[in-house]
């Protein structure tokens, strides 16, 4: 029917897996904002949730690394990580292969996605779902942007991907919600883990809130790497979400939380 929601949220295995190491005064408001966004999605009557993720070698490897991918199965499973380590139980997640097929066919008119008839969710999708859809009530359509293994897709194509998903969502009968999930600045899985560039994050979020394509796509990868770390490459998911929405964004929560290894954000955009 139409896109009814477009939001952004940080992921990271530490957000659930290292919950007890985080200062409660930062952690609890972040969790609350995350859950509030789940309420906001349910309030729209969304039947399916597209999760634009930046997965971490759970499904895609350098033998065949798609710039963009969309899942096309009736069922997914996750997390791929040790459930005790991530503190999210292994579970089945409901998909909709037919809905995926229609979305993919429309997206393919302008953006060249790989389709995937199986998909193992890693923390990049499971952490958001843990907060946004704890009852496992939504149909999930996983989508992915390669933000890990260079050569990476250019930012203006990530914007085009968001526009294509919007056109596709508007063309199917269902009410569709969407979230982009990444990190902003972060240096994950390195000895630098916990390093966060708050000024860079806040500047990015200001551009994200403006939904201005030129400002959002003005970074080179070298600049992002220098200022935002290799984790900063994941801004592509937020750029796509902004492009899908088209309207101004509101940051509901932002705080650097070092033990979660990323700047932690929850926000959503006006659908215009």
């Amino acid at each position: 029917m139409t896109l009814v929601f477009s939001g952004i949220c940080s992921h990271g295995p530490g957000i659930t897996g290292r919950a007890d190491l985080a200062p409660p005064e930062l952690r609890d408001p972040f969790y609350a904002a995350y859950r509030k966004m789940g309420d906001a999605i349910r309030a729209t009557g969304a039947e399916a949730l597209i999760v634009i993720a930046a997965e971490h070698f759970a499904n895609f490897f350098m033998n065949n690394m798609p710039a963009y991918a969309i899942g096309m199965a009736d069922q997914y499973e996750g997390p791929i990580e040790d459930p005790d380590w991530l503190r999210i139980p292994r579970q089945q997640v409901r998909g909709d292969a037919d809905l995926s097929r229609r979305l993919i066919a429309e997206v393919q008119q302008t953006v060249d996605v790989a389709y995937a008839e199986e998909w193992k969710f890693d923390h990049g999708i499971m952490v958001p779902l843990h907060f946004l859809d704890p009852a496992n009530a939504l149909t999930i359509i996983p989508a992915n942007i390669n933000c890990q293994g260079p050569p990476l897709t250019p930012l203006h194509r990530a914007f085009a991907f968001g526009r294509a998903l919007r056109r596709a969502a508007d063309a199917v009968p269902q009410r569709i919600a969407l979230v982009g999930t990444g990190g902003i600045s972060h240096w994950p899985c390195t000895p630098d883990s916990g390093r966060i560039n708050e000024a860079w994050d806040r500047d990015f979020l200001d551009r994200w809130a403006s939904a201005d394509e030129a400002r959002l796509t003005a970074y080179t990868d070298a600049e992002t790497y220098a200022d935002g770390g290799q984790g900063g490459y994941e801004i592509r998911t937020f750029i796509a979400a902004a492009a899908a929405a088209g309207g101004k964004g509101i940051v509901d929560f932002y705080a650097p939380i070092p033990i979660f290894s990323t700047g932690c954000v929850v926000g959503w955009s006006e659908i215009v």
């Binding site: 070698f57 994950p188 899985c189 390195t190 000895p191 883990s193």
Partner: protein, 108 residues
């Protein structure tokens, strides 16, 4: 090219419980299926997390291997620091260390 093989082994190990069982039972036999240098093979089997990090294994792949090996988060970070101390900066990839050898940004 050989780094590709190291990462391929770890990618396949990380996502397949059958390979995980085979690796626990006989890591050498699993390693034999990949085209590895002696240094890479040793780093995988020991495991020498610090050396794997320096060789350029993508952190998103290495982190899961460390978790599979029951290495706690703080220990995982320290092993990478120790790897850089012993072997020098990373030789490939985008997961370079930008903080000091004794710096612990997140307190661990």
């Amino acid at each position: 090219m050989s780094l590709y093989q190291v990462q391929k082994l770890l990618f396949e190990l990380n996502r397949d419980p059958a390979i995980q069982r085979a690796f626990e039972a006989d890591g050498g036999a699993v390693a034999d299926r990949y085209d590895l240098t002696e240094e890479e093979r040793r780093a995988l089997l020991e495991p020498d997390i610090g050396l794997l990090y320096v060789l350029g294994v993508n952190g998103q792949i290495l982190m899961h291997f460390a978790a599979f090996k029951q290495i706690a988060w703080a220990d995982y970070l320290q092993r990478m620091r120790d790897g850089v101390r012993i072997h020098g900066p990373i030789r490939a990839g985008v997961y370079k260390m930008t903080t000091g050898l004794d710096e612990k940004v997140a307190g661990v």
